[in-house]
Amino acid sequence: MVELFRNIINIISVAAVPLMFFVFVGWGIVRKVKVYEVFVEGAKDGFHVAIKIIPYLVAMLVAIGIFRASGAMDVVIAVLSPVSHLIGMPPETVPLAILRPLSGSGSMGLMTELMKVHGPDSFIGVLASTMYGSSETTFYVLAVYFGSVGIKNTRHALPAGIIADIFGMLGALFICRIFFGV
């Protein structure tokens, strides 16, 4: 069942991009759109958007880089250890939960490390990969998306994003404990 679902999704994922190109361009030709000219017209903005993101992304990544390099993560983990103990989260996975919204490459490295040490099919290995798959790099998305349109006052996006991250991690812990719990 899982295998079938996976295969179907895999086929869709592989075919989606070529199919989209085909349908979009094909539809354009049918509707007598000057496809080449229109494509170039749209593509022109790609450069501006990418350049506009730079200052926002520099600000965000540098702050995260300083935080990680200082070893402040250990302090945060120590502060949170009573909470993680209470909800039954293995202490090894706490750094991953904190790093997940901050750094995509960092949390990927941490997940790999946990699987290397504990084995990918151990409870910690399954939980770590579920946690990784249960959320996005919130701070990165925030910087890139808002940066591209010059949004400086992000209002309630960050608190809501962090609440979503917390529930994502709790949901991952909950479901893994039910299905793979020890």
Binding site: V2, R6, I9, N10, I12, A16, V23, F24, W27, R31, V33, V38, F39, V40, G42, A43, K44, D45, G46, V49, A50, I51, I53, L57, V58, A59, A63, I64, G65, I66, A69, S70, G71, M111, M115, D121, S129, T130, Y132, G133, S134, E136, Y145, F146, V149, G150, I151, N153, R155, H156, L158, A160, G161, A164, D165, F167, G168, G171, A172, F179
Partner: protein, 334 residues
């Protein structure tokens, strides 16, 4: 809130880093200025051509742990070394540090002038009768301000990474913006939008149902679900651009933008491809076992995010930020 989080990351980072460095300085964690005793098993003695002694540096685990005041070190320390006697009569030593070296030496090497070696001077050297071993007393290169150095390096490295990431987006951005523009001109986006109006009008009540932003958001969410990261970001940025056309107060996020962002940060995807690939690479018997659990986890995140975004947008402090010159803006017609 972003201001405070951003500031906290930096201030906490700097304070913790400085605190650790002061702690290292006070406790002399790296034993600066204190000579360590070791034995060198000599393998090559100097010849007319080569001025160096080569061999293995050996320190018993117990002596090593006692010297650094640690408990976690592995068995006996055994490292290849090179000793050179300079014309001034001083003997220097160089210890290349590799994966098998003790943790504390690896950290010291990272902060040394060479980056991967421990350098030092030999205070005294006493050969055994057959010259096969030597008792040495070494003074290693001074190591200090480890964390502050690491912070400086991280700040510069990450600034570089940010630019690399942004510039890397140019090509794929241009590609998708071009393709989407064709779909827009051909009227395809309107069809897509109409199909999902019942959902989108509830999620984004401020956005007119037939606005191009809706189509871009739908395509972004679909790409995210399928794990097409390369397509999702350009489509998402296109959606932000369209949403910004409805923004009465440029520079401030609208309700629709925040809702859209939260859906993205929750990261609901049908196949968590990265995690599965790494599981497989780590030799998992069932790499795909996390598909169901990840969908559940990300589902929790999405639902919690949507509920909180809808509640938070009603709070006075977030409502106030939307006012233009103290007045509620005219409802926009797109």
């Amino acid at each position: 809130m972003l201001n405070y989080v951003w500031m906290s990351l930096i201030v906490i980072g700097l304070l913790v880093g400085a605190g650790k460095d002061i702690n290292d300085e006070v406790r002399n964690t790296y034993r600066n200025g204190i000579p360590i005793e070791a034995t060198v098993r000599v393998e090559k003695t100097p010849t007319a051509l080569r001025q160096t002694w080569e061999g293995d540096l050996v320190i018993p685990a117990e002596a090593f742990n006692r010297f650094y005041g640690i408990t976690s070190s592995v068995s006996e320390i055994r490292q290849p070394v090179e000793m050179t006697t300079l014309s001034s009569g001083m003997t220097t030593i160089s210890i290349p540090v590799d994966e098998s070296s003790p943790e504390i030496w690896k950290e010291m090497a990272r902060n040394s002038s060479s980056g991967n070696k421990l350098a030092g001077t030999v205070n005294s050297i006493k050969f055994s009768d057959d010259k096969s071993t030597a008792q040495v007393s070494l003074l290693l290169e001074k190591v200090n301000y480890v964390k502050l150095r690491a912070i400086t390096k991280a700040a510069l490295d990450y600034a570089d990474t940010a630019v690399t990431i942004s510039l890397g987006l140019i090509g794929v951005m241009a590609l998708w913006l071009g393709v989407v523009k064709i779909a827009e001109e051909a009227g395809l986006l309107k069809v897509l939008t109409k199909l999902l109006t019942p959902v989108t009008s509830r999620l984004f009540p401020d956005v007119p149902a037939d606005h191009p932003a809706v189509a871009a958001m739908i395509m972004n969410i679909a790409a995210n679900m399928l794990g097409l990261n390369n397509a999702a970001t350009p489509l998402g940025l296109k959606a932000m651009e369209e949403l910004n056309k409805l923004n009465p107060k440029l520079g401030t996020a609208t309700n629709a933008m925040c809702t859209f962002l939260v859906i993205n940060t929750a990261g609901l995807t049908l196949i968590p491809a990265t995690a599965i690939a790494i599981r497989a690479a780590q030799g998992s018997a069932e790499p795909g076992i996390i598909i169901g659990t990840s969908i559940f986890g990300a589902g929790c995140a999405t639902v919690a995010g949507l509920i909180s975004v809808k509640i938070l947008e009603r709070l006075p402090r977030y409502k106030k930020a939307l006012l233009v010159d103290g007045h509620a803006p005219e409802p926009s017609n797109g």
